[in-house]
């Protein structure tokens, strides 16, 4: 019966090729879009967390709910050993708030102390003027804050904070660099100095407010879980999804929009198949009736139509995959670049201005499975239709 089904396809070559092309095209667009979407999602996750926040953070319990310098902890030998046993990169930070003054101008700002050489965020690559910090007495400021304060590289700014014990801390630090991340909060309100300077300012006595974790591994969540279990009870882990809920929402919103598009494409495939199968079975009503007369059951005739649908889906999917493969590989190597104003807009939303594709067999397999499911569903209707009519009628009146 496969032979009959296969040859039936080639009776109307034009229609069959058209149907196969439609399926192949949809497979291509589906695979392409899913690959770009997944690739961009993965990339954005890495990109957005790399800007400043990290993939996850360790805080003293309660800090995340209410950020206060008093909720701090020491990275002791035990914790250090635990962190080093993971495959994550990590670094310490002190985060607090204070006032930043230059001349007659004063602004409130978020002040962070980092380990310049261990720091894992991309901040060192976001310096637009001057250079990155490498020793105490130095400070980086966001470009908007610099503009507001009317400062330039080389100027010394005064920082005034309330320390952990309630005492005032003050320091005069030299601006070595001005950074631009595209993220408003950072560019407008962030001052970055060394861990040592921040320690003195806030009277931390060697304590930190957070440890930032970063890793690009796919099974990050799983590894994070095992780390969480070993963490001392007074500390907690907070993932990027919790730190940046807007980003997660945005990604999901983006996906929801794409799903409508996928649905439309799948419908194109479904109705293309349905149309072809209806026409080809309708044309052959008599022939199918003859098959039944000589001894095929209704079910066997339906199975024949199913086989034809299967072949159409198979050819369409294989063609689609063969075309998709080089396209996806190309976009893995040459991500789509978002330029100009759009890029700035993307960056301000923490979205990467780069949309790489992801080459994943799961996408290829998933799309194929969906197409096949629809091929089977779409073969049911013409099959039922053509076997519902009375056999004697079909044999009698059609040439």
């Amino acid at each position: 019966m496969y032979k009959v089904a296969w040859r039936n396809l080639w009776r109307n070559k034009r229609r069959t090729i058209l149907t196969i092309s439609a399926i192949a095209f949809s497979v291509l667009v589906l695979i392409f879009m899913l690959s770009i979407e997944s690739g961009t999602y993965e990339y954005t996750k890495d990109y957005a967390t790399k800007i400043w926040n990290g993939k996850a953070r360790i805080f003293k319990k309660g800090y995340f709910q209410k950020e206060t310098i008093t909720k701090s902890f020491t990275v002791d030998k035990k914790l250090k050993k635990l962190l080093e046993s993971t495959s994550f990169s990590w670094c310490k930070r002190i985060d607090g708030y204070g006032l930043v003054s230059f001349g007659d101008k004063t602004y409130g700002a978020s002040i962070s102390g980092i380990e310049p050489e261990r720091e894992i965020s991309a901040i060192s690559k976001k310096i637009r003027e001057g250079k990155y910090i490498n020793s105490t007495g130095q400070v980086l400021v966001g470009w908007r804050l610099a503009k507001n304060l009317k400062v330039k590289v080389g100027d010394k700014i005064a920082i005034l904070v309330q320390g952990r014990d309630g005492s005032l801390g003050a320091k005069l630090l030299e601006i070595t660099g001005i950074f631009k991340t595209g993220v408003l909060d950072l560019d407008r309100g962030k001052v970055i100095t060394t861990l040592e300077d921040a320690d003195e300012l806030f009277s931390m006595g060697g304590r930190v407010t957070t440890v930032v974790l970063y890793s690009k591994t796919r099974d990050f969540d799983k590894k994070l879980n095992s780390l969480e279990k070993k963490l001392p009870p007074e500390l907690e882990l907070v993932t990027w999804q919790k730190m940046m809920p807007e980003l997660l929402e945005m990604i999901e919103f983006d996906r929801a929009g794409a799903y409508i598009m996928y649905l439309i494409l799948i419908m194109i495939v479904a109705f293309g198949l349905l149309n072809t199968l209806y026409m080809s079975t309708f044309e052959r009503r008599k022939e199918l009736a003859v098959l039944r007369a000589i001894g095929l059951t209704k079910g066997e005739v339906r199975a024949l139509i199913l086989k034809e649908s299967f072949f159409l889906a198979l050819l369409g999917t294989i063609t689609g995959i063969l075309i998709s493969l080089p396209v996806v590989i190309y976009f893995v190597k040459h991500p789509i670049k978002v330029g100009g104003k759009m890029a700035e807009f993307f960056e301000s939303l923490l979205f990467a201005p780069l949309m790489p594709a992801l080459l994943s067999w799961k996408i290829f397999a998933g799309v194929s499975v969906i197409i096949f499911i629809f091929a089977i569903i779409m073969a049911i209707f013409p099959g039922i239709r053509v076997t519902r009519e009375e056999l004697s009628q079909q044999l009698r009146f059609e040439k």
């Binding site: 009959v4 040859r7 080639w10 009776r11 000589i294 001894g295 095929l296």
Partner: protein, 223 residues
């Protein structure tokens, strides 16, 4: 031995008025009988053949083939019954256009689940008996009507059925081919003991059959 037996077999169509297409037919065909069912157009020949072949359900009465009542069989069983016990020859040949002559005939044995080697042997034997070996690899579109009908006969008898039902098998053929086709069926009937019932209003056919059943307005008139 009775191959076909009908009891008060009737088929009514109701479109507006009641049409008695087949009306109380009692008929028996013995094994190996070569019979023509003769009557003018619209007399109920096709309907009667369809009832006997289990393609149509009777409004009343019963059909027995090889002692089995087929009018009560469920669809699946009936399909299998037709596959093993019956052969069909149609006016418009009705070969499967995408298959070669060989494959068209083989199809029956394929459906029956006959193994490949045996299929090949049996199909080639029938082709030889009918003298159509050279048609084996041709598709229906590459054959004349007479050639197609010969292949159709091969398809109808390759599984040596109990009964072959032929509906106007010569209507689309010229004289020479028509006569040859009837003679071929007759030969097969005699050699293999297959019962033939041929609906026709073609004198070239019924001149050559041993038995003639006349049907008018759905009723048997002469036997």
């Amino acid at each position: 031995m009775e191959i076909v037996k009908t009891e008060n077999l009737s088929k009514y169509y109701t479109d507006g008025t009641i049409v008695k297409a087949v009306d109380g037919v009692n008929l028996t065909l013995k094994k190996g009988e070569f019979t023509a069912l003769v009557g003018p157009s619209g007399s109920g020949k096709t309907t009667l053949l369809n009832l006997i072949g289990g393609i149509d359900k009777p409004s009343e009465g019963k059909v027995f083939i090889d002692g089995q009542e087929i009018s009560l069989m469920p669809e699946k069983k009936l399909a299998k019954f037709r596959l093993h016990k019956l052969g069909f020859v149609f006016q418009s040949f009705n070969l499967i256009p995408v298959l070669t002559a060989y494959e068209n005939v083989e199809l029956i044995l394929l459906f029956q689940g006959v193994p490949k080697n045996e299929r090949r042997e049996r199909v080639m034997r029938i082709f030889k008996e009918l003298g159509i070996e050279e048609l084996a690899d041709r598709t229906p579109s590459k054959m004349s009507g007479g050639q197609q009908q010969r292949v159709a006969i091969a398809r109808a008898i390759v599984h040596t059925p109990s009964l072959v039902l032929a509906d106007e098998p010569t209507a689309n053929l010229d004289s020479e081919n028509a006569i040859a086709i009837v003679e071929l069926m007759k030969k097969m009937s005699e050699e293999k003991g297959i019962t033939f019932l041929i609906a026709t209003h073609d004198s070239r056919v019924f001149e050559r059959t041993r038995r003639i059943i006349k049907i008018i307005d759905g009723k048997i008139h002469e036997d």
